[in-house]
Symmetry: C2
Subunit: 323 residues, 2 copies
């Protein structure tokens, strides 16, 4: 039996603007997905996901659910990772996979990537295939493609390598050395959103108002560059201001909404240094940079405002096989 785990991600700065070539900053946070892999004597792949509330057997492409098949499409990428690893082992064996995750699903926190990464590592270790982090990343990215079409790769990268990463289109991921633990409160609106639709809406707006939206995008890039300096200095005050500015820029391009703004005001009014939506917007989560002494207050304020909330901070631990 092997257990591997991998962390969730939050985008600190630059979502949406990254689509147009500006830098984005993402970090791994200390919420993890855990995949427990054991060998089976038959050649089936059995997956049980407590969080998705689904379990069942894959035999080749055929899936036989135990209970519910509503979220089968979310299991296919996991199964895809497993068969890739088994393919490398050059063996036709079966695997039981039990997945448990601390990461809220469908919230823009990279839950599906963390599951794919941890699954890949667990199965690799189980069957004795030596996988480098690069291998794990590539296999998980391939799984992401089944869900997101053309994912940026930022989710599996963060989940595999941990820490902080600067991402810019057409360039390699660049690790960002940050001493600061980046104390956050993550607030969840629990509203489902479609990142794809929001990306398309921003593109339409940019087509209609090219100079306006074009300039906003450039300012977004400058915010990210300023934030890199502030992260290196550990300057919570400036980081908070930059989060606030970045959120307002996302409001300019129309991806915030009332539910997100409501949680953001709750966080700011209860003492957060600054707050913004994280990810695609239109629902999902906010992040609030919050000094340790105020974490409890900010969590309580977000929950009073109707969201769910938890504390999070940067983790440098990417994917790992648990002892």
């Amino acid at each position: 039996m092997v257990v591997a785990s991998a962390p969730a991600k939050v985008i600190l700065f630059g979502e949406h603007f990254v689509v147009y070539g500006e830098p984005a900053i993402a970090i791994a946070i200390d919420k993890r997905a855990y995949a427990e892999a054991t060998l089976r004597k038959d050649k089936l792949i059995y997956i049980n996901s407590v969080n998705l509330g689904v379990s069942g057997f894959f035999k080749g492409r055929h899936f036989q659910p135990e209970k519910d098949k509503a979220t089968l499409d979310k299991l296919v990428p996991i199964k895809n990772s497993v068969t890739k690893v088994l393919g490398k082992a050059n063996e036709t064996i079966g695997v039981n996979l039990d997945i448990q995750s601390d990461i809220p699903a469908s919230a823009g926190l990279g839950s599906s990537a963390a599951v794919a990464v941890s699954t890949t590592a667990a199965v690799g270790y189980l069957v004795g295939v030596k996988l480098s982090k690069e291998d794990v990343f590539e296999i998980a990215l391939d799984a992401e493609r089944l869900i997101h079409g053309t994912p940026s790769g930022i989710d599996p990268a963060i989940s595999t390598y941990g820490g902080a990463i600067i991402f810019q289109k057409g360039k390699d991921f660049k690790p960002l050395d940050v001493k600061l633990s980046i104390p956050l409160v993550v607030g969840n609106t629990n509203l489902e959103r479609s990142t794809g639709e929001l990306v398309a809406a921003v593109r339409r707006m940019r087509d209609y108002y090219p100079s306006i939206v074009g300039e906003i995008i450039k300012i977004g890039g400058e915010i990210a560059l300023r934030a890199i300096e502030a992260l290196k200095r550990g300057d919570l005050k400036v980081l908070g201001e930059l989060l606030n500015i970045n959120h307002a820029l996302l409001s300019v391009i129309g991806v915030s909404n009332e539910a997100l703004d409501h949680l953001i005001y709750a966080a700011r009014n209860s003492g957060a240094c600054g707050a913004k939506l994280t990810g695609g917007g239109g629902g999902g989560c906010i992040i609030a940079l919050t000094e340790d002494s105020r974490i409890k207050k900010v969590i309580a304020a977000i929950e009073r405002a109707g969201g769910t909330a938890f504390q999070a901070r940067k983790t440098d631990e990417g994917v790992r096989v648990e002892p």
Copy 2:
């Protein structure tokens, strides 16, 4: 007995950015202040303001309140206008002034300018001094200086001339010919704010983030130029989008707040074409561009959200002596 009246103003686009040389667009709306002037046999100036809840006598610089002197400072500019006009008449006579206003005070709607403008016109007509609109504007602007230090002059200009005006620092006011009636709902947070403090806060932010705030200001100017075209076309849809963008730009520079955003979402969610704060921000009012068929809904939504609201549209009638 002479009654004169003058309209309120709203800034449609460009507040704050106008401080840095970008164009702003303001219109007169169909809410008016009324000044009724009658001669007195003594040489006193008696002012009664129902809205300010204050009344009393001026004898030279000395003020003797009838009831309350809390808002004496708001009466001094009115008295200043009266003495200027009486000075032109070259007579030492007394005047009774009764002021009634449909314009909420301290809400960024140019209430004090409308009172000064209507007072000036009423007293001028009463004592037979021929005042051009330019004269009325200059006298009212002088009264504004007693309240605001260095006012832009936009309030007395709109209140005197009516219609729509483009204002740009260092340039003359430019009337803007707009056929569209510009159907609005004005929502009032009823929160007092200090425009001066907000202007100073924006300046501090610009000093710290010059390139970011500098670019936002330029985009603000471009929004105003786009809005001029949309106003001429009568394009409510684009005007609504531009209001929304302009509001988010004002959020970037930190002058919106939860109370304003709350009313803005109420307006947008109930069918307004678009909405933004108007004036200095930090409290005061929002404007929501709203097709006639949805006016009632939007008013109701704003009031449910805790604000007060009324319908308004552009008026081309500036100061006038009532029949």
